[in-house]
């Protein structure tokens, strides 16, 4: 129950829906048992007792009561639904807000698929429980209670004899439940596997076809496909085993009812109408018990769902919590690292160790080093995606922690290695960081990123839709839009994290030219593997396992006999040879 208490803020404001829903539930459940009673009165009093004058009252009264029940059912269900969907509306907004602000650290370990299943299946599970599960549980209890009452009123011994199968039924239901849920999980798992297989096959179809491994793939698929079928049939066999048995137990009750009840009627200890009423009442007890497992399972599932949702809601948003207040319109862009040490997680080794440097406004800093050497980490600390462990990161002489995040980040333009564009128009993508930008500003940014020309060649120009329903752009085109996006916010600090890697040489050349223009007047950090991208930097930092091992300008480093020179030699020896004879 702890889980539901913690989630209280999402549903408690709407408790009036719930209370209405519950009150009408009690009303309609009470009315349910009226049908057998009416049947009993008709037989015993009207027909056998000869009170034929009661007919109109009983029939019309019955319809009248059922009209009330109809209205009650409607209100019960509708307010119940509203209770669920308004709560979930609120919950979704909160989850989304939380996700927007969770730090990078969180996303480093989170998988999109897992988050998505929480946001969809678990939210839905929670809603279903609020709307349906809880009230169903109450309904069962009330229905069984009232039915027992009526039955006892008619005949205690008959009730006892008839319901003697109940313990057996309970055992069967329990066993069924124990068996069927793992089986269902098996189906879901198998389906997930099959899904992954097919998806992988289609994504890799070029590889499959070029190695002509279609038959192999079909074999693999059939295996998974067969497994899914087997899991399904296994589950339905459980169903076949238990379900008819439950029905049989219910039917045994009917047989007991007929034998003992018939005997009682013959002995004139019971009226025929009461016997008939019993016949209906028995099922009011049997059905809820057969479904009890389902409802209880619903309860435990929604508890698990709630736990998974709480994990998101309670995840630490450490960076936001100590956000600074300093608001600055425009930073100059002086970046200083003072003995910065940083780890991604407690157990990791240092991603940065005692790093110090100063980037004066408008200067270009090149970062070189192998994968994992700490290049990206430096830029992520500038933007304060993470907080340092030791040392200080200063911008314009002020600690980054003192700036309001919005103020800090809106002065920084980021171009990542894999440019992520949103499902929106090109225009909206370029102005993503500054939605209020005018069309002129957008075009200007695109021109400077060398993107304007190809955008104009697209059928809808700047209104071309990107993303799942939109145009497929090449890697180079996407990258240039991402660059335009970074320029559009007119940042004082520009970070290019391997921005030209995913494109071919010719595009790289174009982008390089674009960047040349863009970097003017901004402090720029360039992360690259190619010397050509770095050699004009005002300072190049060569990193190795979190430490700065060399620093200086190209001309110095290239003769220092260190890592930089080694990389340079590898990249250039070829070219020198090729070119010498032709271009001089």
């Amino acid at each position: 129950m702890e889980v539901f208490k913690k989630l209280k803020e999402f549903y408690w404001p709407y408790k009036s829906y719930f209370l209405w829903s519950m009150s009408f539930l009690l009303l309609i459940t009470g009315i349910t048992v009226i049908y057998p009673i009416i049947l009993q009165i008709t037989i015993d009093d009207i027909v056998l007792g000869g009170r034929y004058e009661w007919i109109p009252i009983v029939s019309l009264g019955f319809v009248g009561v059922m009209v009330i029940k109809g209205l009650g059912t409607y209100i019960h269900q509708y307010t119940g639904d509203l209770f669920g969907i308004t709560s979930v509306y609120k919950l979704r907004n909160r989850l989304y807000e939380k996700l927007q602000y969770l730090p990078f650290r969180y996303y480093d370990n989170a998988k999109t698929g897992d988050l998505m299943s929480r946001l969809t299946a678990d939210v839905e599970g929670f809603r279903f429980f609020l709307s349906f599960g809880f009230s169903e549980l109450i309904r069962f209890i009330v229905l069984i209670g009232i039915t027992f009452g009526v039955m006892f009123y008619y005949s205690v011994p008959l009730t006892v004899v008839t319901l003697i199968t109940l313990p057996f039924l309970a055992v069967v239901v329990y066993k069924f439940d124990r068996a069927v849920h793992p089986a269902f999980r098996g189906i879901r798992k198998s389906f997930g596997k099959l899904n992954t297989k097919v998806q992988e096959n289609i994504s890799g179809i070029n590889t499959v076809k070029s190695l002509s491994r279609e038959d192999f793939e079909i074999g693999k698929f059939n295996h998974s496909n067969g497994d899914y079928k087997d899991k399904y049939i296994f589950t339905s066999n459980i169903w076949a085993k238990y379900f008819p048995l439950m029905e049989l137990l219910g039917n045994i009750s009917v047989v007991l009812l007929l034998s003992y009840g018939g005997y009682l009627v013959i002995q004139e200890e019971l009226k025929p109408g009461e016997l008939v009423a019993f016949y209906s009442l028995v099922w009011y007890i049997m059905w809820p018990i057969m479904n009890l497992g389902f409802v209880i399972n619903l309860f435990s599932q929604s508890k698990a769902s709630g736990e998974r949702l709480l994990e998101i809601l309670e995840a630490e948003g450490e960076i936001e919590e100590n956000e600074g207040q300093l608001m600055v319109d425009r930073l100059l862009g002086r970046v200083e690292f003072k003995n910065v040490t940083f780890k991604y997680t407690e157990d990791d080794s240092e991603a940065l160790y005692d790093v110090s440097f100063v980037a004066e406004p408008g200067k270009k800093i090149g970062l070189l080093g192998a994968t994992g050497s700490g290049k990206t980490t430096i830029t992520q600390l500038v933007t304060r995606f993470y907080d340092v462990i030791e040392g200080e990161v200063l911008i314009d002489g002020e600690k980054v922690n003192n700036y309001a995040l919005k103020s800090l980040r809106s002065n920084i333009g980021f171009v990542l290695q894999e440019s992520f564009l949103f499902s929106s128009s090109i225009k909206a993508n370029i102005s993503y960081g500054r939605p209020e930008a005018t069309m002129e500003e957008i075009i200007d940014a695109a021109k400077r990123a060398q993107a304007h020309d190809f955008i104009m060649e697209l059928p809808d120009g700047y209104d071309t839709m990107l993303g799942e329903r939109g145009m497929g752009l090449s890697g180079g085109q996407k990258q240039r839009i991402a660059i335009a996006r970074a320029i559009c916010v007119n940042p004082s600090i520009l970070i290019l994290d391997d921005a030209t890697s995913a494109v071919d040489m010719e595009t790289e050349y174009k982008i390089q030219q674009a960047l040349h223009e863009v970097m003017k007047g901004r402090t720029t950090f360039i992360i690259a593997h190619r010397i050509s991208s770095l050699k004009h930097a005002d300072e190049i930092l060569v990193l190795d396992r979190g430490k700065i091992v060399e620093r200086g300008v190209h001309e110095q480093l290239v003769n220092q006999n260190g890592l930089y020179q080694r990389v340079y030699d590898i990249q250039y020896q070829d070219q020198k040879q090729i070119m010498q004879s032709h271009i001089g």
Partner: protein, 608 residues
Amino acid sequence: MNKKQPSVSENAIKRFEYSQDQIIDKPFNWAQMLRLFSYMKPYRKNLLPFSMIMVLINTAVRLIIPLLIGVYTLDRAIVNKDAKLLTTLVVIISGLYVASYIANFFRIKWMNQLGQNVIYDLRKHLFTHVQNLSHRFFDQRSAGSILVRIMNDINSLQELFTNGVINLLMDVILLIGVMVILFTLSPELTLAIMVILPIMFFISTSLRRNIRKSWQVVRLKQSKLNSHLNESIQGIRVTQSFTQEQENMAFFDGVNTENFQSWREASQKNAMFRPMVELTNAVGTAVLIWFGASLIQNESITIGEFVSFAFYLGMFWEPISRLGQVYNQLLMGMASSERIFEFLDEKPIVSQKDTAIEINNIRGHIEFAEVEFAYNSDRKALKGISLEMRAGQTVALVGHTGSGKTTIANLISRFYDPTSGSVSIDGIDLKDVSLKSLRKQIGVVLQDTFIFSGTIMENILFGNPEASEEEAKEAARAVGANGFIERLPNGFETEVEERGNVLSVGERQLISFARALLADPKILILDEATASIDTESEQKIQNALKTLLKNRTAVIIAHRLSTIRDADQIFVLDHGEIIEQGNHEQLMNFQGEYYSLVRAQFTMNTAS
């Protein structure tokens, strides 16, 4: 109940756009239905009739019981106080229940087997078919849309094949049976009660359909919401870099509100369903009591018959409701099966002749004769290409994006057929060669190396399943991939994923080299990766290439100067035409397009 309800602001909702499926309600199509049901044919001699028999037994028991209880037990045994008859009847009824128990057991078992087998067959058929379709098919569709058909569309037929068809039979029999029995008991009371039947049919079809439509709207809104959630998680780093959290929240609130509203509308309709059904039943019961009691009064029916009537009345709704459900399933099945059949009717564009020959030991001499090719009718990708690649040569294709380099490579593997002209290997036209034997001779290393989930060993063996693990390791060693593989925690048995982080781009590339080397093709096509690989991997790749190219005809879509320089022949392409050809020296001296391409690269790397 007057809580503030969310509302949508028009502007916020336009920030992102996602594709939306249309709400479809396909008209009923008999031909398509028959085609769909032909998948039941293999089971027409066993599962299908067996489960039908079980259904019939079950239905018969359900039809007889109320009659036995009402007319026989109540009237003749209990009211007449005949204890012996009561005992006999109880025994009979017990027997029937046991029969029904057994029949039910087999019914559930066999019906599910039947349904799952049909679904299995259908999915297998579809997948096998899709697997053999040509590249063009995959060019035109996203992986997601193909996936949806193989998985979801087929699954949506599951219920139809498992329960739908057979329940249809059961329900029709049940309905007719009940009416026949009621008519024999009392025609006038039956007629009176029939009043409710049209209402029930209306609720079960029309109202339900209306409700279903509003649920479809809900689903559409929900999928929009989910699309955005998915995208916003993947793009979270961009969002945070540009501090767009607030703006995104406004958008999300809009989508969330739309979703809420569609739910509320659907719920308003949906909540009507149960009350309507119950109310209709209540009307039926009232008619029964009123009219039935007066019939008892003038002794045209007995109490037992009256009770039987009451029981049968309760049995009306279930089959009618299920018939409505099956009808809905059929309509939805129409939509799904149409999409499935659309794929099944797709023919592979590259087809194999019946007389196709196997080529096994080729030399690897490739020739293009006046080859023209267009991906779609409005733009030619190749315009009259004629070229020759001699066995064992390394050939580089150079040119701008869209100049036709990849197209040439695709035609060699016969992923497409030329629009006119011919491609031949060792003098044999590719159209006369069996696809499988052709592709066995060709190894392709693509720019975007695809890694299947599984172990690294499995990924290397993918190139040649007959190879031993030893050979696979040997191949990895030859291309210099063994170093990093052995450093991984589980070595060759390390599990990797399609987009996993275990391997870097360069490492993936080396694995695909090993894969190609293991396949040992006579012709190797290499779409050189340009992704920035750190310098050490790059050096490894250079060395690996030397091993890989030995003794093969190699066609390289080249970006690296080193590979271009070493090529025996270089073709420079521009807009689907060969504009220059020769080796490096010749082309540099020619000072044409090649010269300026190389120069541009050089300029970028040296001067500013």
